[in-house]
C-alpha cells in the first residue's frame, strides 16, 4: 500500500497497464513530454517510449477518431481530452463511431478505447473548464461512462476501463485530483464497471452521488447525522450502465432519495435516478426524489461559482426538506 492522490493513482494504473500490455498507447494534447496539464501522465513517456506515450496535434476529433482506428486494429488506446469542455469537437466521433462500431459490424470490429477527461467545477477556472455533462455520454447508446470519487476507485476503475471490451468515457473529478489522499495498493486490481457502492449505510434517506460530489455528500451526511437524520450514501461509480438495483434496494429501505450532481438539472442524472426509483420502488417512496443538482445555467466564472456548486450545507438543506415532506 502507498499513500496516493487521484493523479498518482491514475498514473499508476496507466503505468502498470502499459507495462503489462504492449497494445496500450496513451496520447493526447501535452500528454507526452509534459506529462499532461494535470501531470496525470507524468513520467510515462520516459518509461514507456515516445511511440507509446505521446503528444498529438490539437484536434480532439482526430484524437478520438484515430483511437477508434487503433482499437479496431487490436490496440488499446487510452486518450486524454484536456478538459471535458473540449470534448465536443470529438462528439461526432464518440457518438457516431466509438459507440457504434461494434453494433454496426455485429461484433466484427470493436473499439475498446478509453477516453479520459477531467471534468467538473470548483477549481476557479476559465469558462469551458468546469463542465459536468456526463448525461450527454450516458444518453449515448454504446458507451460506458465511469466516474471515480477516490484515488482507490480511480485506479481500480481505470484498470477495468482499459480491460473493458467496450469503449469507456472515463471522467475524472479534477477538483479532487489532489485533494484526497488514501492508501492504494501498488499492484494491479480492478473494480467492476456498472456497480455502485454503498459508501455508508443509513436508514432515513438515500443520497446518490458520484465524483467530487461524494465528498460533499459525506460531509452533508455528517451534518444530517447531527440533525438526527440517518443518510445512506451511494456512490454511483458508473453513470452508464446504471446500477439500478443498489439504488432501488436502498430506497425501498429508506423511502426517500436525493441525488447530488454538478451538471444541469433538466435532462440530467437526477432525472434518471428519479425515474428508476419510480420504476423500482414506487410504493416505498415517501417523498418525491430530490434533485440537488446544477442550475440549468452555465457554470459561472469563478466569482460566481460558489452559487452554482453543491455544498454540504445546501445538500443538508434539501435533505431536511425531503425529510419534512
Amino acid at each position: 500500500m502507498k499513500i496516493m492522490n487521484m493523479v498518482k493513482a491514475i498514473n499508476d494504473a496507466l503505468d502498470l497497464k502499459l507495462k503489462e500490455d504492449k497494445s496500450i498507447v496513451v496520447y493526447g494534447e501535452d500528454v507526452g513530454v509534459e506529462g499532461g496539464v494535470f501531470r496525470v501522465t507524468e513520467g510515462l513517456q520516459q518509461k514507456h517510449g515516445a511511440d507509446r506515450v505521446f503528444d498529438s496535434p490539437l484536434a480532439e476529433s482526430t484524437i478520438i477518431g484515430s483511437a477508434i482506428g487503433m482499437a479496431v486494429a487490436g490496440m488499446r488506446p487510452v486518450v486524454e481530452i484536456q478538459f471535458s469542455g473540449f470534448a465536443y469537437p470529438a462528439f461526432d466521433q464518440m457518438v457516431s463511431h466509438l459507440a457504434r462500431m461494434r453494433n454496426r459490424t455485429r461484433g466484427k470490429y470493436t473499439t475498446p478505447a478509453v477516453v479520459r477527461m477531467p471534468y467538473g467545477g470548483g477549481i476557479n477556472a476559465l469558462e469551458m473548464h468546469s463542465e459536468s455533462m456526463e448525461a450527454f455520454y450516458g444518453h449515448t447508446p454504446g458507451l460506458k461512462v465511469v466516474i471515480p470519487s477516490t484515488p482507490y476507485d480511480a485506479k481500480g476503475l481505470l484498470v477495468s476501463a482499459i480491460e473493458s471490451e467496450d469503449p469507456v468515457i472515463f471522467m475524472e473529478p479534477k477538483r479532487i485530483y489532489r485533494a484526497i489522499k488514501q492508501e492504494v495498493p501498488e499492484e494491479l486490481y480492478s473494480i467492476p464497471i456498472g456497480k455502485a457502492k454503498v459508501v455508508s449505510p443509513g436508514t432515513d434517506i438515500t443520497v446518490v452521488a458520484y465524483g467530487a460530489m461524494v465528498r460533499e455528500a459525506q460531509k452533508a451526511a455528517a451534518l444530517a447525522e447531527k440533525e438526527g437524520i440517518s443518510v445512506e450514501l451511494i456512490d454511483l461509480r458508473t453513470i452508464y450502465p446504471l446500477d439500478r438495483e443498489t439504488i432501488v434496494e436502498s430506497v425501498k429501505k429508506t423511502g426517500r432519495v436525493a441525488v447530488v450532481a454538478e451538471g444541469p438539472t433538466t435532462f440530467g442524472v437526477g432525472a434518471e435516478i428519479t425515474a428508476l426509483v419510480n420504476e423500482g420502488a414506487f410504493l416505498s417512496m415517501e417523498a418525491p426524489p430530490k434533485r440537488i443538482t446544477g442550475f440549468d445555467t452555465l457554470v459561472p466564472y469563478p466569482q460566481g461559482e460558489h452559487f452554482y456548486m453543491q455544498s454540504p450545507e445546501k445538500i443538508l438543506f434539501e435533505i431536511i426538506d425531503t425529510m419534512n415532506y
Binding site: D51, P57, S61, T62, I64, S96, R102
Partner: protein
C-alpha cells in the same frame, strides 16, 4: 513522379485518351494481361451489380442506394494491386473494391436492404464498414495507419472520401495527423464534381483537390480517375511511398458520378444532360474496354457474354439474399456491448412481453 506532376503545376495525370489510346507511354504501368483482364472483368461485374441494384430499388426490393456508376476505375485500381493485409477505409461508392477485398455481394445487398448483418463485410479482412457520416472515417484511417507503423507491418491503408468530404474538419485533421505521425495512408479523394447537388466550385476555393496536399507537406497527385492505367500507376506510386515508411499521400481522382446521388435524388435539379453526355465520353469502363479490344485482349463477343454472366450471377445472389433475409429482436440488442447490460436485457424482455400480449389480443 510526385515531383513531375507536382500539384502546384495543376496538371492532370493521364495515360490514355477517351478512345483508350495510350498518350503517355512513359508512365504506363507494368500490368500483365491476366491481371488487366481480371481488373476489367471486375469493373464490369461491379457495374452490372450497381445498375441492377438501382433497378431493384425501383422495384421496391431495396432501400436507398448510392450508385458508383462512372467512378469504378478509381477503386478498382486499388482492388487489383492491394495486399491482403492492407486496410480499406471506404466512403460509400467503391463497390469493385469491396468485392475484391472479399466482401460478398450479398452483404452489400443486405446493407442496402436495411440489415446490419451486411455492414461489417463478414467475409472480408481489414476493411471498415461504409461510412455514413461524410469524412468521419478518415481519422480512423490514421489510427489504422498508426497501428501498422507501431507493429512494423509494411501494409498500407487506403482511405476514400468525396470532394464534398474535403470541406469537413475531419478531412483536415486526419491529413494533418497523418503527416505529423508519418503513417502509411493513401488518401483517395473521388472528386466526382458534386456533393449531392452542390458543385465543386461551391464546395471549395481551389481549382483542384490535389493542391491541398501542399498544406500538409504531403505528396499529392491529380489523376484522371476514369483512366484505369493512370489510376493504377498513381496508386502504385502512392502505395510504394507509404509502404516504404515515407508517410501519407493524397490522390485526387477526377471522375464523375454518372448516376444519381442516391436513388432518392433527381440530378436534373442541378446538372444538365449535356454535362452528362460529356462525361459519358470519358467513361472508365468504356475506355478500358476500347484499350483491350484495340490490343486484342478482349472481344465484343466476350464482353457480351461476360456482361450476361455478371447479370445472371448478380440476380441469383440477390434472389438468394431476399430469401435468406431475416431479422430477430436479438439483433437490436445483442451487439451493442460485449455483454448485454441489465437495462437492455429488461428492455428486450419487456418487448417480448408486449409481443405476447399482442399475439394473445388478436
Amino acid at each position: 513522379m510526385f515531383d513531375v506532376y507536382h500539384p502546384t503545376k495543376k496538371e492532370l495525370f493521364q495515360i490514355m485518351d477517351n478512345e483508350g489510346k495510350v498518350i503517355n507511354k512513359e508512365w504506363f504501368p507494368k500490368i500483365d494481361d491476366s491481371t488487366l483482364l481480371k481488373a476489367y472483368k471486375e469493373l464490369v461485374f461491379a457495374r452490372a451489380a450497381d445498375l441492377m441494384i438501382v433497378s431493384y430499388q425501383r422495384q421496391g426490393r431495396i432501400y436507398t442506394y448510392p450508385p458508383g456508376y462512372g467512378q469504378e476505375a478509381v477503386s478498382e485500381a486499388v482492388a487489383v494491386q492491394m495486399k491482403k493485409e492492407d486496410w480499406v477505409v471506404p466512403a460509400f461508392r467503391e463497390l469493385p473494391l469491396y468485392l475484391a477485398k472479399g466482401a460478398s455481394l450479398k452483404d452489400v445487398f443486405k446493407f442496402y436492404m436495411g440489415d446490419e448483418k451486411g455492414a461489417g463485410w463478414s467475409n472480408a479482412k481489414n476493411m471498415l464498414p461504409i461510412s455514413v457520416p461524410i469524412a468521419t472515417q478518415l481519422p480512423h484511417a490514421v489510427g489504422l495507419g498508426y497501428s501498422l507503423k507501431y507493429n512494423k507491418k509494411d501494409n498500407v491503408v487506403y482511405a476514400f472520401v468525396g470532394d464534398g468530404g474535403t470541406s469537413t474538419g475531419d478531412f483536415h485533421e486526419a491529413m494533418n495527423f497523418a503527416a505529423v505521425w508519418k503513417v502509411p495512408v493513401v488518401f483517395i479523394v473521388q472528386n466526382n464534381q458534386f456533393a449531392i447537388s452542390v458543385p465543386f466550385e461551391t464546395q471549395t476555393g481551389t481549382d483542384t483537390i490535389a493542391i491541398k496536399s501542399v498544406a500538409y507537406g504531403m505528396p499529392g497527385l491529380r489523376v484522371d480517375g476514369n483512366d484505369f492505367f493512370a489510376m493504377y500507376k498513381a496508386i502504385e506510386q502512392a502505395s510504394e511511398h507509404a509502404r516504404s515508411g515515407k508517410g501519407a499521400v493524397l490522390i485526387e481522382a477526377v471522375t464523375y458520378r454518372r448516376g444519381a446521388h442516391t436513388t432518392s435524388d433527381d440530378p436534373y435539379k442541378y446538372r444538365t444532360k449535356e454535362e452528362e453526355e460529356l462525361w459519358e465520353k470519358k467513361d472508365p469502363v468504356k475506355r478500358l474496354k476500347a484499350y483491350l479490344i484495340t490490343n486484342k485482349l478482349w472481344t465484343e463477343e466476350e464482353d457480351d457474354r461476360h456482361i450476361k454472366a455478371c447479370k445472371k450471377e448478380v440476380d441469383k445472389l440477390f434472389i438468394e439474399t431476399e430469401q435468406e433475409l431475416s431479422y430477430e429482436l436479438d439483433e437490436v440488442f445483442d451487439h451493442l456491448y460485449s455483454e448485454l447490460p441489465d437495462d437492455l436485457e429488461k428492455q428486450k424482455a419487456r418487448y417480448k412481453a408486449f409481443l405476447e400480449w399482442k399475439a394473445k389480443r388478436k
